[in-house]
């Protein structure tokens, strides 16, 4: 005797994956995460980019950046560390050389950006938001790999508020703020940027970590510390998404961290995310998002959930136990 829920299974094709993020429609909730997709061209030989929900570019700064010395990456248990150093081509080259390709794909294009100080953040927001084909800006306020300054942008709510407000004021496009999991209180950060006019938040960026090569007695990354990504961080990312969704039910959230399967993506939706980004999974499997999209569709169908939208935030608490009665 087993109580199976009356699973009103649907045909996978009947499942509607479309979502709206801050008023913008996306074909599917699945986006490629910043830094794991470069500027997209490389993926064209592996998969049909038009089937993505959207993509987030590598983080763009006003001037080109060359990044950190090698080694820049190393593997850890169910995860990896990186200290790429936010290498990128800079705003001008991005707008001229990279954006035209992306705008032709017919999917949501979010441009991730950062500055090295207040002014360069604002400058970047102003210029990038006017790029033809840019749907939204994702502002990275958690740059663990830039050494000088910047840490308060991602960890002090008042500072993040001021920065967000200034960027929102000059931006022609919605700004989604990508939060740092290294902040003590991620809900306070979300609230601060929401009040400053952020259209949504992306949760989470990598968590600062390190690894040591005991044979050489040296850090495995040239910069000593790097950002941890991959399935290892998924429980932390999911918790932060859920905390923010509970506290700020009207703020759209893009969930990120260790998504490898349709089931992972659905966990993020149920926790309250509207879109879900896939990062590290793309390295081992360039077509991961297509597989994950299909898995999500099949799973929603199997569970009788008619649309991605209907899954957002549907998490229920566990039923209470029976009261204690002494025997």
């Amino acid at each position: 005797m087993s109580a199976r829920e009356p699973a009103l299974s649907l045909a996978p094709d009947a499942v509607d994956l479309a979502v709206d993020f801050a008023g913008q429609p996306l074909k599917s909730p699945l986006l490629a995460a910043s830094g794991c997709f470069a500027y997209g061209q490389q993926f064209a030989e592996f998969c049909d980019l038009g089937r993505l929900g959207g993509l987030v570019t590598k983080g763009i700064s006003p001037l080109p950046r060359h990044g950190n010395p090698a080694p820049r990456i190393c593997e850890t248990a169910a995860g990896m560390l990186n200290s790429i150093g936010l290498e990128n081509v800079g705003v001008d080259a991005f707008l001229a050389d990279k954006l035209p390709f992306l705008r032709g794909l017919g999917v949501a294009v979010w441009v991730n950006f950062f500055g090295t100080d207040f002014e360069t953040y604002v400058d970047c927001a102003r210029r990038l938001s006017r790029g033809d084909g840019v749907d939204a800006l994702e502002m990275n306020i958690s740059c663990p790999n830039i050494t000088k300054g910047g840490i308060e942008f991602g960890t002090v709510p008042e500072v993040a508020h001021r920065l967000t407000r200034a960027c929102v004021e000059v931006s022609a496009r919605p700004i989604v703020v990508k939060l740092s999991p290294n902040a003590g209180d991620v809900v306070a950060m979300a609230q601060a940027v929401a009040e400053a006019g952020a259209a949504g938040v992306s949760v989470i960026n990598t968590i600062t970590g390190m690894a040591i090569d005991v044979r050489s007695r040296r850090p495995r990354l040239a910069t000593t510390y790097g950002g941890l990504s991959g399935p290892a961080i998924k429980p932390i990312a999911l918790r932060m998404v859920h905390q923010i969704a509970r506290a700020l039910p009207h703020l759209p959230i893009s969930g990120i961290g260790g998504v490898m399967s349709g089931e992972d993506a659905l966990e993020f939706l149920m926790a309250g995310a509207t879109t879900v980004q896939v990062g590290t999974a793309l390295f081992a499997e360039p077509g991961a998002i297509h597989r994950i999209t299909q898995e999500l569709r099949d799973l929603l169908a199997e569970l009788g959930i008619p649309s991605a939208r209907a899954a957002i935030g549907v998490l229920q608490p566990l039923p209470a136990e029976a009261p204690i009665r002494p025997r």
Partner: protein, 268 residues
Amino acid sequence: MPAAHFTAATAANRALGGGYFVLELEAAEDTPVGAAQPGHFVMLRGEWGRDLLNPRAFSVLAAPSARRFAILGKIHGRGTARLGALRVGERVAVTGPLGRPFLSPRPGTTQLLIAGGVGLPPLHMQARVAAAAGLHTAVELLYGGRSAQDLVLLDQARDFGVRLHLATEDGSVGHRGFITGPLLARLDRAREAAESVELLACGPTPMLAAVRRIALDRDIPAQLCLEENMACGFGVCLGCAVPVHGPRPYAYCCTDGPVFDAREVRWP
């Protein structure tokens, strides 16, 4: 060369001793790896769940058909241990062929192929390709290891008809010492004979550094096949930075390399 991401099955996996193994993979359909050239590499990952997240890079050793290719691996850490233990039929995800290969021999120039340990595969393939093109006299293979068991696939190399110079640190086979010994002797002879030579090297970084020094000191062209930790292998993670001279301080091992001009590499 276009790359593809596909699943292949283990067709054979032969242990050679000393932790070396030749893994042959076969796809259900033709793949571009069949057209791989020496120095091209593939990223491999078994069905490993969530741990060992990233694929591992391996030079293509041979691509006997459009569906089948082989790599020579050496057990190093957990990933290579799992690949070395694959059984026939077990599946592996493959991305490739990736990178820029070695340049082919030019008429009138002898290519000295300098392989250290598990750096053999791309040079073994270079010798194979040269031999197949009737150019077996245009290449010579200099191959060094710690001891006899580090020198693998010698019979095949002999079959190519290319000249072999061997060295082992313990002297169990060939010259006793590093392969740079035979290399220097060979270069001296080339100088005396006013022979035009070019170096192609793959192996441990200290060996490559020594080859580079020699090439720079003697002003001989050299192509070095480098290794760097890689997450993707196709130019998106930006993890595999190689310090280079020139306008950009870093190039990428996976897309700009793995083969680099020795003068380009920014090593001390």
